[in-house]
């Protein structure tokens, strides 16, 4: 016997939802009442149940599937990357300012020496001086101070540092006065000597 289609297309549209039990309120009552009264819709609803039963959910290995998923948080965090970038920029800026401060100043013998604009014996432009001799006092560069006081060095890369270490480094860098004064005090600075490794003369 040929299975016929009920003429009520609106009800037929809702039969899968009726079979799944997802119809609510008035729709559920209306379709339920219609199925009871309509042989064609009753047969179609039965057919839908049979199709569902003929296609059961296959078994799956949930543990294996879940194990293949990336766990969030193991990707380097944006916050850590931002700190590292900020620290790297700070070091570069510090180095550039330091070079600008030392540019044009050459060693003068003894106290009372004058500054010279000659840079012939000035610091190597390509090197960041570790120590400055100012008015007879040795001053370590900002980077060296930061390394000494925070207790870690730059032997490795910035990526080796933890977030807390980077934050401490950044704080130290920010407290250093690396900017030259607008009006350099030529009397206070009797001699400025850049000491490089192996070339110190004091």
């Amino acid at each position: 016997m040929t299975m016929r289609d009920c003429r009520d297309g609106a009800v037929r549209d809702l039969l899968p939802d009726f079979v799944h039990g997802t119809l609510a309120g008035d729709d559920r009552e209306r379709v339920g009442a219609h199925v009871l009264a309509c042989a064609d819709c009753a047969a179609e609803a039965e057919l839908l149940r049979a199709v569902i039963d003929a296609h059961p959910l296959p078994p799956v290995d949930v543990s294996r599937l879940a194990a293949a998923l990336q766990v969030p948080g193991r990707v380097p965090s944006f916050r850590a990357a931002r700190w590292r970038a900020a620290a790297a920029v700070a070091v570069v800026v510090l180095g550039g300012v330091w070079m600008a401060v030392l540019g044009g100043r050459v060693p003068q013998g003894g106290a009372g020496g004058r500054m010279s604009d000659s840079a012939s014996s000035g610091p190597n432009d390509s090197a960041l001086p570790a120590v400055l001799l100012v008015d007879g006092e040795r001053y370590r560069s900002g980077a060296a101070v930061a390394v000494e006081e925070t207790g870690f060095g730059f032997g490795g890369g910035l990526s080796d540092l933890t977030e807390e270490q980077l934050a401490a480094l950044l704080s130290e860098v920010e407290t250093l006065d690396v900017s030259p004064s607008v009006e350099p005090d030529v009397h206070a600075i009797s001699s400025v000597t850049a000491l490089e490794e192996g070339t110190n003369d004091w």
């Binding site: 799944h20 003929a54 998923l69």
Partner: protein
């Protein structure tokens, strides 16, 4: 039919996704357990019964890698169906480009089944599976998503890349074809 209502499931899926984002691996396992079976069944409906496990795994890996882009405009399951369908169709296309492989056209698998199994197919379940497998691919997809998964036409349209109205037409054509197949068998 044993599956929770769409609205409740969507809220719970959202909660599990939020927990997973906070590093709760059990939330991922729960989501997988909830949706893997339906994905595997859909992969089979797309003609990939043998490789269904592989497609389901690929689907979850891609989905979880891009969960940030899931905007909850559809249900999570609909989104997963869409991803799986795309993976399966990409694989079919790449197979069709290889000259040394024989690409099974839509009807070939069903004809093989027909020759071997029609003589012995007596149970309703076998007859129904046979009838569904003989449907054209798009009708089969729409029919299965509507009947076995209970997806509304709007979500089916998202999965198959069509319109709600077209999906309704595909469903009714498929239902007519299945009825005629069963009538022929009777």
């Amino acid at each position: 039919m044993g599956e929770s209502s769409g609205l409740d499931q969507e809220e719970t899926d959202a909660t599990l996704i939020a927990r997973w984002h906070r590093g709760d691996q059990k939330a991922a396992a729960t989501l997988v357990g909830r949706h893997a079976g339906a994905l595997s069944r859909f992969a089979a409906a797309l003609g990939e019964r043998e490789d269904a496990d592989e497609f389901v795994q690929d689907t979850f890996v891609r989905a979880f890698a891009s969960l940030d882009s899931f905007r909850a405009e559809s249900s999570l399951r609909t989104w997963l169906f869409t991803i799986l369908r795309r993976i399966v169709l990409d694989r079919k296309r790449s197979r069709s480009r290889r000259p040394d492989t024989v690409e099974l056209e839509e009807g070939h698998a069903a004809e093989a089944f027909d020759a071997l199994d029609r003589l012995v197919a007596e149970e309703t379940g076998q007859r129904l599976r046979h009838a569904v497998e003989r449907l054209p691919l798009l009708q089969r997809e729409v029919f299965m998503l509507r009947v076995t998964d209970g997806l509304p036409y709007a979500e089916i349209a998202l999965v198959v890349g069509s319109t709600e109205g077209a999906c309704r037409v595909h469903y009714h054509h498929a239902m007519r074809a299945v009825k005629e197949e069963l009538d022929d068998d009777a």
